[in-house]
Symmetry: C2
Subunit: 241 residues, 2 copies
C-alpha cells in the first residue's frame, strides 16, 4: 500500500497541474446492439465516475484530455471532441474526493488541492467497441462498459455530463457522420440503422432509412456477409473515404 | 491615476478569483445590414480584445460570464451561450497583459497572477443592435461595434475565438432559430433574409427563401410598413411566441 501511495503522490502533485480545472470524457461504444459508455469504479469507495483528470501546466487542454484517457482507460489514439465546460457552484464534491484519497491510501494533506472547486471541460468520443480492451489505471479497480440506459449513479454531476453528451451527439449526428466511428470497417445496413436508432432514440423505417442513406452517396457496397442461409445474406458496406 | 489604480486593485484581487481560467464573449449585433461584434480597446495600449473576465470563487461559470459582460459593456440581461473552451499552450500573452496593467497604472506585483497561463471558456450572444448602448468599463477607453469582416487585429487568440463563434453560429442557426434575437420585434421579410444571408455568408434567392420561411410556420404577419411609396409597402412580421 505504501508503494502504491508513494507512486501516486509522485504522479499527482499540485505543482504540475492547473488548479480548479479538470476534464471528463464520455466514451461511447456500440456493441452491435446497444450504445454503451466507459465507467470507472474507484478502489474501496463504491464510487463510479467518468474517466477524467487534470491539466498539466505544460500541456494543452486537448493533449491533457488525450493523455488522461490513455492513462485511465488504456485506450490510445481515440478521437475526442470537446463539447461543454461545466462550472456550477454545486458540482464539486469534496467528500467524494476524500473517499477516493482514503480508499487509495493517499495522503489527504498532500492532495488538499483536489478537494477544491473544479470546473470540468468535457469531451466525448465514439469508438469501435470490438477493437479496444479498456484497462483500469492504478486508482480504479474496474473499468466497464455500461449501456446508456443502465448507468449506475455516478459521482458529482457526471450523470448530467452524460446527458449533455448525448444531447450534443444527437444534434451532431447526422450533420457530421460521426456514427461511422462506432462501426467496424465493414457493416450491414441493419447495423448502420441500429446505430442511428440508438443514438437518435427512436425506431426508423427500414425502407426509408435505406433510401435516405444510399441517397447520401457515402457508402460503398462490399461483398455479401455469408452466415447461415446463403440466400438471405445481406451485403456489407463501408464508408467511402 | 492613483485613485483609479487603487479602485482596480480593490476590484481585481487574485484571492477572490479562480486562477488560470477566464471567459471571453463574442457579442453579435445586426444593424439591419451588417453583422457586427463588440470590441474593447484597453487604455493606452492600442490593444483590442473581446470583452472578458475572471470567475469568482463563489459564483458559477455562467454567472461570471453574465456579470462580466454587464460590467464590461454595460449590457444587462443578454442571453449568452457557451460554445468552446480554448486551452492551447501558446494562447496566453503575458506581454500584452503587462501592457494593460501598465497602461492602467496597475501594480504589476499585485497582479502577477494575471500574467500566468489562462484557459478561456468562450460564450456568444446575439442581441438587437438598436436596443443597447454599450458602455466601456474602467479598464477600457472604448467599446465599439466592428463589422465581422473589418475587425482590428485582436490580442491573444481572440480572432480565432471569433472565427469559432461564427462557425458554431452557422451550425446552430437554422436549427435553433437564434437569429430572432438579432431583429427588432417587428421586421420585414427582407431584413430577415439579410440576417440569414449575413450569418450563412451567402446570397439566398428571395422567392425560395420566402417560401421556406413561411412554410416553417414561425412568423405572424403584422401591418404594412409605410414609408415612401405606399403601394410598395412591405408587410412587417413577428415571430410567433
Amino acid at each position: 500500500m505504501v508503494d502504491r501511495a508513494k507512486k501516486k503522490i509522485d504522479n499527482i502533485e499540485h505543482k504540475g497541474f492547473i488548479p480548479n480545472v479538470s476534464y471528463d470524457s464520455v466514451i461511447f461504444g456500440f456493441n452491435g446492439k446497444q450504445l454503451k459508455i466507459l465507467i470507472l469504479e474507484y478502489y474501496n469507495t463504491g464510487l463510479f465516475a467518468l474517466p477524467g483528470g487534470f491539466v498539466k501546466r505544460n500541456e494543452s487542454l486537448d493533449a491533457a484530455a488525450e493523455r488522461g484517457v490513455r492513462e485511465r482507460t488504456g485506450l490510445d489514439q481515440i478521437y475526442l471532441e470537446q463539447f461543454y465546460t461545466f462550472g456550477s457552484l454545486t458540482r464539486s464534491d469534496p467528500q467524494a474526493m476524500e473517499r477516493i484519497l482514503e480508499g487509495n491510501g493517499m495522503d489527504r494533506q498532500a492532495h488538499q488541492w483536489m478537494l477544491d472547486r473544479f470546473l470540468s471541460v468535457s469531451y466525448y468520443a465514439l469508438i469501435n467497441y470490438d477493437e479496444v480492451t479498456p484497462k483500469p489505471d492504478e486508482l480504479s479497480d474496474n473499468i466497464n462498459w455500461y449501456p446508456i440506459d443502465e448507468l449506475p449513479p455516478l459521482m458529482m454531476d457526471h450523470n448530467q455530463i452524460v446527458n449533455k453528451a448525448l444531447e450534443v451527439l444527437r444534434d451532431n449526428f447526422e450533420k457530421k457522420l460521426i456514427g461511422m466511428n462506432l462501426l467496424p470497417s465493414k457493416f450491414t445496413m441493419k447495423q448502420l440503422q441500429m446505430v442511428y436508432e440508438t443514438i437518435l432514440g427512436k425506431k426508423l423505417r427500414r425502407t426509408s432509412f435505406q433510401r435516405r442513406i444510399l441517397g447520401m452517396d457515402i457508402l460503398e457496397r462490399q461483398e455479401k456477409l455469408y452466415q447461415g442461409k446463403a440466400h438471405k445474406a445481406p451485403y456489407l458496406y463501408s464508408f467511402k473515404s
